[in-house]
Symmetry: C2
Subunit: 289 residues, 2 copies
């Protein structure tokens, strides 16, 4: 379907896409455009692309261009590659925020270029071209957020492409994506950074290593704090309103819980914990089937 | 050292202790006292103890008694077993809260019985006698919180016992334990329950399954929501003040972060995230060595 695919940004996601293409469709010509000479060298060493360049002209002739850079960098990159794109090229992206990205890119898009915004719900706390692996998208959700402006055929082609990478595609409006992910991804990431900060501060006040006395649960929270600060800064800058909504909803729940703890409301806590536990187990059950 | 050991409560922790004793010291006579007939039957089926009973008199003749029940149940159980204990018996516990437990138990303790409060920093989200495994304590921290009243020899014996189970013992005052664990364990558990609640509420408002759009980070948070609500309710009831301190410290951090997001303070966020990331990586490094 796509004979030549450019991937812009060979981090965890970009390099995983390249690895999976290499495995399932070795005839596809992969182009790497990355502004970092260091990343370009690694991509050559890892044999993840057939053409590698830090010059935007390299995108010429591509049928599909995948933006896999922090969302804040996307508008600038699209501006720089537009003059080099061939007619009927499809652009997609893998950014964690969609409304702002869709707005920025559709604003500058010529009529003969389609943009299908997307977001694979897959990742680890590691970054860089070495961190990727071909199985990353296996059975994972890949959300596409087309608009009224997006050609139906382009949506279909990108959907098939994502499915060929192993993912399950779900289509939803950009704002619903952003409100949802603000809660299920952006807020947890923020809490991870905050938990470490708060525990470290307590350790300073108690003059002992509080974080070394952490168990299982804390490790599950802290793990994603290894994630790339630039990528996440861009998420909070571009999805500000929905992240604030998620913070405020969480804040309400926290106040409710603080009240129960302060009042020693054992029954209230037990009911709350049991309901969350049941909701979680129901979700685990649905993932199995 | 201990010829007969009673374990009271054969959940994840109690049954893991029994499994490890079976492996490293098969000559030790293990007594199971559990008020649940169902648990007693499972302990017999799994061959985790040599004497099994739901009658407190079964503890007679034990050299060591390990309380492995929710902390709220401990004072009542100690009252019920005291008449049956032999001279020089040592009692220890594995509860997640220490100050209140130490206070409650020391209040009723006769002179010839020692209490060495303890807390293995090990666990999973699963509960019950089937959930245990002998390796649970391998290289994990086991905190002991003796007081001025605790005989030095009893501390030494319990410490050796924990080390024989594979754990690294650390001694600290009960209140420091409780302030520390409120932050590194009790608050994360609360956040796990709250995150699911808040995400579920958003899903109801958006009329779509928000939780099904969750990734890696959310799963790391949600996993421990499968934990036992009764055990955790007791933690928040008995460690109220320190949990409120942890909530308030976290609340301050959340307000600071909300402010940065609202103001689009990219530099502030980047610095905050980078500092937490570095602190986390430093901790991972220290665990390796």
């Amino acid at each position: 379907m796509f004979k030549t695919i450019t991937i812009i940004g060979f981090g965890l996601i970009g390099s995983s896409i390249a690895r999976k293409i290499r495995r399932v469709a070795p005839d596809i010509h992969i182009v790497c455009y990355d502004h970092s000479e260091d990343v370009c060298r690694k991509v050559i060493d890892l044999n993840l692309a057939d053409s590698v360049s830090s010059d935007p002209a390299v995108v010429g002739g591509s049928n599909l261009v995948i933006l896999a850079v922090p969302v804040g960098a996307m508008p600038g990159i699209v501006q720089s590659i537009l003059p080099h794109l061939t007619e009927n090229t499809i652009i997609t992206d893998v950014g964690s925020v969609k409304e702002q990205v869709v707005y920025d890119i559709e604003l500058v898009l010529p009529n003969d270029i389609a943009f299908v915004a997307g977001h694979p719900i897959a990742g680890t706390e590691f970054s860089g071209p070495e961190a990727g692996f071909a199985e990353l998208f296996e059975n994972r959700l890949w959300i596409l957020t087309p608009t009224a402006q997006t050609p139906a055929l382009a949506i279909q082609h990108v959907q098939e492409f994502c499915e060929n990478l192993g993912a399950n595609v779900k289509i939803m409006p950009p704002d619903i994506h952003d409100r949802t992910l603000a809660m299920t991804s952006h807020l947890p990431q923020l809490i991870s950074y905050m938990m470490i900060h708060a525990a470290d501060r307590l350790g300073q006040d108690l003059h002992h290593d509080v974080i070394s006395c952490s168990a299982n649960g804390f490790h599950g929270f802290a793990r994603i704090a290894a994630s790339d600060p630039v990528m996440w800064r861009d998420v909070y800058l571009t999805n500000k309103d929905h992240v604030l909504e998620a913070i405020d909803r969480f804040q309400n729940t926290l106040s409710q819980m603080r009240h129960m703890v302060e009042n020693g409301d054992g029954q209230g806590m037990h009911d709350f914990f049991s309901a969350s536990r049941a909701r979680h187990l129901k979700h685990l059950e649905s993932r199995k089937s």
